[in-house]
């Protein structure tokens, strides 16, 4: 049997895993002489036109089926539960304003955030408390996780459309309707 190349090993490692693997971890695995970042880019290009893609999420990588194939895959898949509007908005606020305290989320939405709403997001693995704000009461601040990037196919938080651009969009354009 041939000696496999580092790229083949990398490919197999990523393929075998269900969860994204960190670049540092992969570099550790393959040893110092291998330039993992280059190989990952190469692999990503190899798969660019295939039914499966190598996705980057900040410093982690994972194989995922291509989004455009999705409509043809639906075979008795259980539809995941839809997020409530409150949960989705809270998630968006955390994504855009992280690190953000519960009080700040409430100020933006103009309504109390139930602990249940945060619990749902924590349970999904998309947000996590991280650190405290150096302010009276030292409130906990919330941030999004790696799993959030993975779930919403974001290579980084910069992939989110900019809020000020959204503010400028024709929000109250009559065409959008009420």
């Amino acid at each position: 049997m041939d000696q496999p190349s580092p790229k083949q090993i990398l490919e197999a490692l990523l393929f075998a895993a269900e969860e994204p693997l960190g670049e540092a971890e992969l570099q550790d695995h393959l040893g110092g002489e291998v330039h993992v970042a280059d190989l990952l880019d190469e692999l990503q290009r190899d798969y660019a036109a295939r039914g499966v893609r190598l996705e980057r999420q900040e410093r982690a990588w994972a194989f995922r089926t291509a989004p455009e194939v999705a409509p043809y895959l639906k075979r008795s898949r259980v539809q995941p539960k839809k997020l409530s509007r409150a949960a989705l908005e809270t998630l968006a606020i955390i994504a855009y304003h992280q690190p953000v305290t519960r009080a700040e989320i409430e100020a933006l939405r103009g309504v109390a955030v139930g602990q249940g709403t945060l619990d749902i997001l924590v349970e999904a693995g998309w947000v996590t408390p991280k650190g405290r704000r150096e302010a009276p009461g030292r409130p906990v601040t919330w941030v999004t996780t790696q799993a959030f990037l993975d779930h919403f196919a974001l290579a980084s938080l910069d992939d989110l459309p900019r809020l000020d651009e959204l503010e400028g969009a024709s929000l109250f354009n009559p065409a959008r309707g009420g």
Binding site: E18, F63, E89, L91, A153, N173, R176
Partner: protein
């Protein structure tokens, strides 16, 4: 939901559908069908108040945050209608602008939330490997210890070898049983008397005295529970009065 008494052009929705007063304001603003920059806060305040009045007329519960917003909007409206010289509010226009900004920010976030939801989500539009192959991970522990810890551990072991002798002096305390017996015997009449007067008098040692007070109190509670006596204390830390219950 239609309300025949209401102006048919006004917006009528169930309050339950809203995520708080800002959300309701946003919905009302949308109904104005103009750019948010040109929205009339005056008209918006009027609509918000009218809306709440209609909800109140149906005798539905209104959450506190809506009422707070309504009060503030009513105040803001009154200030905006006054000539600047007569206003109590320093900057009514600025307050109105702040509200516009908040609405615009919320609308942008709402749009962002929609866009987030529209992304190809994992398990919906993208799938992970269905048959992951477990990769064996061997963990090699690298043991660490410091010389200081080693010495401390040794010293503690060697000291453990020579056990310390410790003696606990026997203490004289007043038991609850003794207090019960004393109280039952001494409490005869039906007049209120202070619990303290039933304590034994020959208690020199403070600890013994405190134990007598404690067991006396427990004994009185026990007797009250049994229905034999009544207890009364008119103020915190005030004297505790007891008397035999008249049968």
């Amino acid at each position: 939901m239609s309300d025949p008494a209401a102006d048919p052009s006004t917006f009528v929705v169930d309050l339950d559908g809203f995520e708080g007063p800002l959300d309701l304001l946003l919905e009302l603003a949308r109904a104005q069908k103009v750019d948010l920059a040109r929205i009339s806060i005056l008209a918006l305040a009027e609509q918000f108040l009218a809306y709440l009045r209609r909800v109140q007329a149906r005798q539905l519960q209104i959450a506190a945050e809506y009422l707070v917003m309504a009060a503030w909007l009513a105040y803001l409206k009154s200030q905006l209608l006054l000539p600047p010289a007569e206003r109590e509010m320093e900057d009514a226009e600025a307050a109105a602008e702040d509200l516009t900004d908040r609405l615009r920010r919320l609308e942008a976030l709402r749009l962002a939330a929609e866009m987030l939801q529209a992304r190809p989500q994992l398990g919906v539009a993208r799938f992970a490997r269905g048959l992951p192959e477990p990769v064996e991970v061997t963990v090699t522990p690298l043991w660490r210890a410091g010389l200081g810890e080693l010495f401390v551990a040794y010293g503690q072991v060697m000291r453990r070898g020579k056990p310390l002798r410790m003696t606990m002096p026997a203490r004289r305390l007043v038991s609850v049983e003794a207090a019960l017996q004393r109280l039952s015997q001494l409490l005869t009449g039906h007049d209120w008397r202070e619990l303290r007067t039933f304590l034994p008098e020959d208690l020199g040692e403070p600890l013994l005295r405190r134990s007598a007070i404690a067991s006396g109190l427990i004994a009185s509670l026990e007797l009250a529970k049994q229905g034999q006596i009544e207890l009364q204390q008119t103020a915190p830390f005030g004297p505790i009065m007891i008397r035999r219950r008249s049968s």
